[in-house]
């Protein structure tokens, strides 16, 4: 079945229809219409799948896609335009350009935590670049996946953009086929499986994975401190209750400030979400029982539950876990070695804030490093001594909405990037095109060789035009060929 769908997509691509700028613009405009007209249904589906509040849904899903589409519409002609390239004088007369072309038929595998934006945002890139595509949303967000499968064919070109739903068996079938690109958002474990399957067909991949995103909190003045705490709290529990690749995973603070930090976080939590696990507001629930149990079992490890300084309550019926703060849980416990992906915030205390750099470097490279500080020296050290997909100073998550910044990981957090023009590029092949003329032949290119030609070539190909000129004018001694 998947084979047939893919064949249709490949045929559609071969027809050339998706290469036309008019097609791409039409599809982008249709996508904009889709998210505007179906906004209510989208909000409902997100509420059903994740208990996501409509404000969060707008901010992280609908609004994000709209912004992406508008940006693409604004820039697409510029992105599609060939880029002229300067050539060495040696090649005169000639001209060259780099022509972006679509890769062909691409596979997009999206995730469950931002089931709308992580599906549609890559779609924006694939469409802008002129490809045909198959989207497989995550089965762990069934209301959203079903909705996407329903509405996408209503607005977008059915022969060029298809949606297939299903679980890992369907994903497995799709991965056996030959794609011109695979764009995957998810865990490193599955990322490796995707890349292994892609290797069989030499398919290039972009892997948007996760990691433990640390937040470093330096000493700050009163008002800065207040803002920092809001942003940390908002960056932890705001995006899908911590079930986000970009969410703050753990916090690094100097020992002397920790009690103030904990108090402040408690206040933020109470103000933002409430303090009763049965009636928390404005926060997502845990996506399913598997993850609920996974998170709960993190508490079972020795020393972890004992380090809870706030929260810890769970409600299985509502699939809710309240925002929980841990103070110095054991560094070898699961909560400090695996990506949490939930509403648990461990705080690791340090004697000096600079120690945070070593702690970060002991772990795999994360998708983001957050640092709240006004100390320029510390900023520089963090920038140059740690490696991560991105670094944000004095805020969290917000780098995600800047279309000019490449969004992607490094090391275990993935490779490849998207957003803005990077999305267009990730689904394109940059084809070099060199135009030469027949006139002005360079005789020294051809045998039979002699020492003049050798010297000419030696100089010319090092772009040493001055000495070439001397040679041509007979003012330069010839190089003696070494004996073979």
């Amino acid at each position: 079945m998947q084979n047939t769908l893919q064949l249709e997509l490949k045929q559609c691509f071969r027809s050339g229809r998706t290469k036309a700028v008019s097609w791409r613009v039409d599809q982008l405009q249709a996508l904009l219409k889709l998210v505007s007209e179906k906004e209510t249904q989208i909000f409902d589906a997100l509420k059903k799948d994740l208990g996501k509040h409509r404000v969060e849904s707008y901010r992280d899903e609908v609004g994000l896609v709209k912004k992406s589409v508008v940006n693409a519409l604004l820039h697409i002609k510029e992105w599609m335009a060939p880029k002229k390239t300067r050539l060495p004088l040696l090649l005169f007369p000639a001209s060259a350009e780099v022509l972006p072309e679509p890769l062909g038929t691409v596979l997009i595998l999206s995730s469950w935590n931002f089931p709308i934006s992580l599906a549609l945002d890559p779609l924006v890139g694939a469409i802008s670049a002129g490809n045909t595509m198959l989207l497989k949303p995550s089965e762990l967000a069934p209301a959203c996946s079903t909705l996407l499968a329903e509405i996408i064919p209503l607005y977008l070109d059915k022969e060029a953009i298809k949606v297939v739903n299903g679980g890992s068996d369907v994903a497995g079938e799709l991965l056996q086929l030959q794609w011109d690109k695979i764009f995957f958002t998810g865990s490193p474990r599955v990322g490796s499986i995707v890349m292994s399957a892609a290797a069989k067909h030499l398919t290039p991949v972009t892997l948007e994975l996760g990691g433990k995103c640390p937040a470093i909190l330096d000493s700050l003045s009163g008002s800065d401190f207040k803002v920092a705490m809001k942003r940390i709290a908002g960056g932890k529990w705001g995006p899908c209750a911590g079930q986000a690749c970009l969410a703050v995973d753990y916090l690094l603070v100097e020992q002397k400030s920790v009690s103030v930090v904990i108090e402040s976080l408690k206040n933020c939590i109470k103000k933002f979400y409430g303090d009763n696990v049965k009636s928390l507001q404005s926060i997502c629930r845990i996506v399913n029982k598997h993850h609920f149990d996974r998170l709960r079992s993190l508490l079972d490890e020795p020393g972890v539950a004992a380090s809870i300084v706030y929260g810890g309550s769970v409600n299985e019926e509502l699939m809710m876990i309240e925002p929980t703060i841990f103070l110095d849980p054991p560094l070898d416990a699961g909560i400090m070695t695996e990506e949490i992906f939930g509403p648990f915030l461990p705080i690791v205390t340090l004697n000096q804030i600079e120690e945070s750099i070593d702690i970060i470097n002991e772990r795999p490279k994360p998708l983001a490093v957050y640092a709240f500080t006004n100390n320029e020296k510390l900023k520089s050290r963090i920038l140059h001594e740690t490696s991560s997909g991105s670094v944000t100073f004095n805020d969290t998550i917000i780098q995600f909405i800047c279309d000019v910044l490449p969004f992607g990981g490094v090391g275990n957090s993935g490779f490849g990037r998207y957003h803005g023009k990077y999305s267009f590029d990730t689904f394109s092949h940059e084809k070099a095109v060199l135009h030469r003329r027949f006139m002005l032949e360079l005789e020294p290119r051809y045998p039979p060789w002699n020492s003049f030609k050798l010297e000419f070539i030696r100089l010319a190909y090092r772009f040493d035009y001055f000495n070439v000129l001397l040679l041509l004018l007979g003012l330069r001694r010839k190089f003696t060929a070494p004996s073979s």
Binding site: V70, A199, L202, T392, A432, V433, F438, Y446
Partner: protein
């Protein structure tokens, strides 16, 4: 056999020290590579002659000059390449400043190949060092003299705690591929490219695969056929005797024009290599007996053995095959299925020159596609319809020389690209950095959520200043 795990550990330790990130260190290493070439030119030429009977002129142009060019460009531009790129963050993130910084990936593996054993080893390594990484270079066992020379010279000049050369064959490569790398840069065949990619997948290692393919050359009528013939010869037999990923693999021309094309090439071949090319010192030999027999088999195929227009002579003792043209080769012949990688040039005939496009598109995407024509419409159609790593119109292989053009494949011919600044970028991570101010913190970002916050966010996303003001005032 060298212990791959130990080598990687040592390199990780060097990288962790931070020395390779330093601008001055990188410059010193680039200068060291430059010195290797300028001080040992004779030995390099000799090694290439030993491994491939490579004519000195090809070694100068296609190996030595390329490496020197890569060094001098990197030395000249490194400061600029290393500089962070400031970008304008969107109004939504106001007030903030943003930039993208180039960060080394860490410990990288460069696997090179035998046909341009010097250049295809050093150009990626130079880029990796310029980008601040530590490197293992695995050379090809099929070019033993060049491998041994590199293994001797590199530690003499370059910081050996940061660059290691590993010789050997499949077992050594396999051992290296089991390690965790921050990037793997592979040049070679599609078959092995798959193996490299699969190994990389286990560690989520990004790869650049510079592979091959059947690079077609389409010859239209009404052109300067003599110049075209010479340029085809230069790209085919003048480029390691056709054993190059970007050599024109096969020609396509019209039935009406085909014999003229064959004649023209043949005439020029006589002029450039003489009547007895097996005696010529200006043609590389076939790399080894295995490839020699492989090529003979392509010529012996029943479908083509009567189609030899010129050439076919061979001498096993010196591993030479004469430049051979096969005219009117059927499309299902073996020689049109696999990458030839040798001095055989099949000519395929079509009714109309435009038919060449469908013919090429039916095959896997090649590393390069060539077109000789003066017809602007044909040029445009070719450019837009043929997907290939690169396209060169009215010449062959010369795009390889241009540092600003991305050099790499697509589909079966590979993924990723390099040359010039792209080599540096290929071995770098573009890290996004956003710096925010504490002032102007938007309440609308935080719970408890309320309808005015939705309106406000919507207005911000849509960039409507009036709506932003309105929703803010009505909260």
């Amino acid at each position: 056999m060298v212990d791959a795990a130990v080598v990687v550990k040592q390199l990780r330790s060097t990288y962790a020290s931070g020395i390779t990130k330093d601008y001055d260190w990188r410059i010193s290493q680039l200068k060291a590579f430059q010195k290797i070439v300028t001080s040992h030119e004779k030995e390099i030429l000799y090694a290439l002659r030993t491994d491939l009977s490579k004519p000195e002129h090809e070694s100068q142009v296609q190996e030595i000059a390329q490496v020197l060019s890569a060094c001098s460009l990197a030395l000249k531009e490194l400061k600029r390449w290393m500089k962070p790129q400031t970008v304008n963050p969107s109004i939504i993130a106001f007030p903030s400043s943003a930039k993208v910084i180039m960060e080394p990936l860490g410990v990288v593996l460069v696997i090179s190949t035998w046909n341009f054993p010097f250049m295809l080893s050093l150009e990626p390594v130079i880029g990796a060092i310029a980008a601040g990484n530590v490197v293992v270079l695995k050379t090809s066992e099929l070019a033993p003299a060049t491998s041994a020379l590199l293994a001797k010279l590199i530690p003499e000049y370059v910081d050996s705690s940061a660059v290691k050369v590993v010789q050997g064959s499949v077992p050594e490569t396999t051992a290296l591929l089991e390690q965790k790398w921050d990037k793997i840069f592979y040049t070679g065949s599609s078959r092995v490219g798959r193996i490299v990619s699969a190994a990389a997948a286990k560690h989520l290692t990004p790869v650049v695969l510079e592979l091959g393919g059947k690079c077609p050359a389409v010859i239209d009528e009404n052109i300067n056929l003599t110049v075209a013939a010479r340029r085809i010869i230069s790209g085919k037999w003048g480029c390691n005797n056709g054993q190059a990923c970007i050599s024109p693999d096969y020609l396509i021309t019209t039935k009406a024009y085909a014999s003229k094309v064959a004649e023209a090439i043949s005439t020029e071949l006589d002029k450039l290599y003489g009547k007895d090319p097996l005696q010529s010192h200006e043609l590389s030999r076939i790399i080894n007996i295995h490839h020699f027999h492989r090529l003979l088999k392509l010529m012996d195929d029943d479908k083509v053995n009567q189609k030899i227009f010129r050439g076919g002579q061979h001498n096993e003792s010196i591993l030479k095959i004469a430049p051979t043209i096969l005219l009117d080769v059927p499309q299902d012949a073996l020689i049109l299925e696999e990458e030839i990688f040798g001095p055989l040039l099949p000519i395929v005939m079509v009714d109309n020159i435009e038919d060449s496009i469908a013919l090429i598109s039916a095959k896997e995407k090649p590393l390069a596609a060539y077109l000789f024509t003066n017809n602007e419409r044909m040029k445009d159609m070719f450019k837009r319809s043929i997907s290939a790593g690169s396209i060169c119109i009215n010449d062959t292989i010369i795009h390889f020389l241009v540092p600003n053009l991305p050099f790499g494949g697509v589909g079966e011919s590979g993924t990723g690209a390099y040359h010039g600044k792209l080599t540096f970028e290929s071995f770098s991570h573009k890290k996004a950095v956003l710096e925010r101010s504490f002032i102007l913190d938007l309440d609308a970002r935080y719970p408890p959520y309320a309808p005015w916050k939705t309106k406000f966010l919507k207005a911000v996303v849509q960039g409507h200043i009036a709506s932003i003001a309105r929703s803010f005032l009505c909260r």
